[in-house]
Symmetry: C2
Subunit: 414 residues, 2 copies
């Protein structure tokens, strides 16, 4: 079973918006055993839309279209869909009622453009948009199913999960399929490849391996794509077991795990509370930790001490340490970690100080120089990292490195 995704909108083609919708749709389709063969982004104009629909239908049994359904006039998708499916737009009373109720609840007046959103192709089956005014639509043509969804991510996501996917599962009979992703830290891509080469070469033909590197993390994805094999899931599980034996010391999670979730689970399991002191990471570590629901069980808080004065006043760093060693130094990062732990009354703390760039570097301490520390009730450990020259990447890398140092320390707790 093969699907294609079509994303409509100039904002993607001029690079103003990153297409996150396709990643969501592809992940959801893969979960139910539908492989995505192609993702195509096109302009919100009639001819590119018609051509893309035709081309996708030639290759795929399911075509999911996003974008082009908003209340404003750059949106011509609905009329083009009506033409493509040889039907016409008609006002749907239940949709108009829904739009009125929705806007009334927000205290917004219904205008002409909102009313026009209740005009939909006559032949489509509606996919209800509980949180927005643009409805999802289901069409069938020559054995191919077409689903059109609005481009606003959370509206698209709820329609897909609540209405489209259940109907897709019912409509298609899907073969077993499995992906599993192993998350590793501590080996670069080519070193990992050398380490697992004999195992990789012996993989059955229907199992594929992919390397997905990102800053500080290397993900290995195993998948069984062969729609004819009935034992795809078992094959992947067997190969996973072999892989785990080869590289267990580098594995920190699976599939959609993140390092912030993994450390959060460890903190909860080990019954430890956490405080953070950040300089160069500027709130990024706290932001990652608090992206995890329920983090208030173990996270007490953080201080972003961007000025030297605040390092001393709020975290209790010694003025003399900054004067003798500089703000980016082992002495200061260790005092920051100790200070955060004490101030918040936490069991464990992490701290960062570094030169994120682009300016602020020197010969002795070039841009990218970063100190990270972890403190518990009986020890403070610190480590120096030489990261790169790109501010955003340095911040991300330092935040991830700090979370891995925290994980290592938590793993030591029996």
């Amino acid at each position: 079973m093969l699907a294609e995704i079509i994303t409509i909108g100039d904002e993607i083609l001029i690079g103003q918006v990153v297409d996150t919708n396709s990643a969501f749709l592809a992940a959801e389709l893969n979960k139910v055993g539908i492989r995505v063969g192609q993702i195509t982004s096109i302009s919100d104009q009639r001819n590119p839309i018609l051509t893309a629909l035709d081309e996708a239908a030639k290759r795929a049994g399911l075509v999911v279209i996003t974008g082009g359904l908003g209340p404003t006039s750059d949106d011509i998708t609905k009329q083009t869909l009506a033409d493509y499916f040889h039907t016409k737009l008609a006002l749907k009373k239940e949709v108009l009622d829904h739009i009125r109720n929705l806007l009334a609840a927000r205290g917004v007046e219904v205008n002409d453009r909102n009313i026009r959103q209740a005009e939909l192709p006559e032949s489509c089956r509606l996919l209800h948009n509980a949180s927005g005014t643009a409805q999802g639509m289901w069409f069938e043509k020559k054995g191919t199913v077409f689903i059109s969804l609005p481009g606003v991510p959370y509206e698209m996501e709820s329609i897909m999960k609540d209405y489209a996917l259940p109907q897709i599962k019912e409509f298609f009979h899907l073969p077993p399929l499995r992906h599993i992703t192993v998350l590793t830290h501590g080996l670069a891509e080519s070193a990992m490849a050398m380490k697992i080469e004999p195992w990789e070469k012996a993989l059955p033909a229907s199992v594929r391996l992919a390397y997905l590197p990102s800053p500080g993390i290397l993900r290995l994805r195993l998948s069984c794509f062969d729609p004819e094999r009935k034992n795809g899931p078992e094959l992947v599980t067997e190969e996973l077991a072999k892989l785990r034996r080869l590289i267990s010391e580098y594995i920190f999670g699976y599939d959609n795990d993140t390092i912030e979730e993994v450390t959060g689970r460890l903190l909860r399991e080990k019954k430890r509370t956490l405080a953070v002191a950040e300089s160069c990471t500027g709130g990024k570590i706290a932001s990652l930790i608090t992206s995890v629901p329920g983090c208030s069980d173990y996270f007490l808080g953080s201080v972003t001490a961007y000025s030297n004065t605040s390092k001393c006043a709020i975290l209790g760093v010694n003025q003399a340490s900054i004067q003798s060693h500089g703000a980016v130094s082992q002495a200061v990062v260790e005092e920051m970690a100790r200070g955060a732990r004490e101030r918040f009354g936490a069991d464990i703390s992490i701290a960062t100080t570094g030169i994120a760039g682009p300016s602020g570097g020197s010969v002795d301490k070039p841009v990218g120089t970063t100190w990270i520390a972890v403190a518990t009730d009986h020890i403070v450990r610190s480590e120096k990292f030489i990261l790169g020259e790109h501010r955003g990447r340095n911040i991300s890398k330092a935040a991830v490195a700090a979370l891995f140092m925290l994980r290592k320390e938590l793993m030591r707790i029996p």
Copy 2:
């Protein structure tokens, strides 16, 4: 002049990676006057690659390909490109030397896989990758230029900026073209559409308008796409002037401006320093502010006070205020703002407290309830927001709302 982008890699088709490379490439190509007609993501397999190259070449004068050039064995792009351009892979000595030097500097040993990265299609012109081992390649076939770049974002970006774009500019003769994006806050999409309808209807045919909504921000993009018109840039400028007269009170920036950069510029202009106290936003505001290079000129720091104890101990919030009004209340958010201002010795401060969700809500204070305050030396203002149910979106919306409250306060300073 029309280009297409082809992204190669299963990681995109299974939704594990969001395709940010295409947005970067599209933005860069648009800047030099090249319109992107289509973006296609395909699997790293021979046939889909060959088909996509053929299809794109039918429509476009320039095809930019990313991905599939890493050192590991899921990468078959290079061999497929060699076949497509009727050439063969050969070891390039200068590339091998570069790889050796690069890895030596990192203290990594050169392995067989690294050496194979120096094998490149004989007929291609190299586009140097200063920071990585996978080289960029330039091919020409039947009047179409093909550029192949590695998928690692920062490597791809430097090759594109330093080597590919200069050669593209030289190779093609490009017509004038202009995009301008107006950033607004305070009017929803359909209300904005009503407000500017007469102006929009009178736009010249070659000027297009698009609405790009995101949480708390509505961007209006004006563009002139007509390659034959020589006065595209002037037309867009004229229409922009008219639009500004209609909606000046809602405009806070242009093009790639962000609210964190805009508030940063205001703080620098007005010579004010900033401190932040965060609860529900969990470090997100600090993280946005410190993403701007040079922010240490005006940003002193922040406290993420996730526990009630830390709200009192570190920010000086009154225990009694929390007991009588709850942590999510006007009294507490105002005390947090005052506390942050005093603790950091800042001129101005912002604070947030709210229920980000998914749990923690009640009948009186449902998930999404958020208080935001701004404090100066003579006033504290606070506002209540009812956001949504989605944790990540609530955090983003509250952070953006706080920055807009800060901007409003800064605009009051003469």
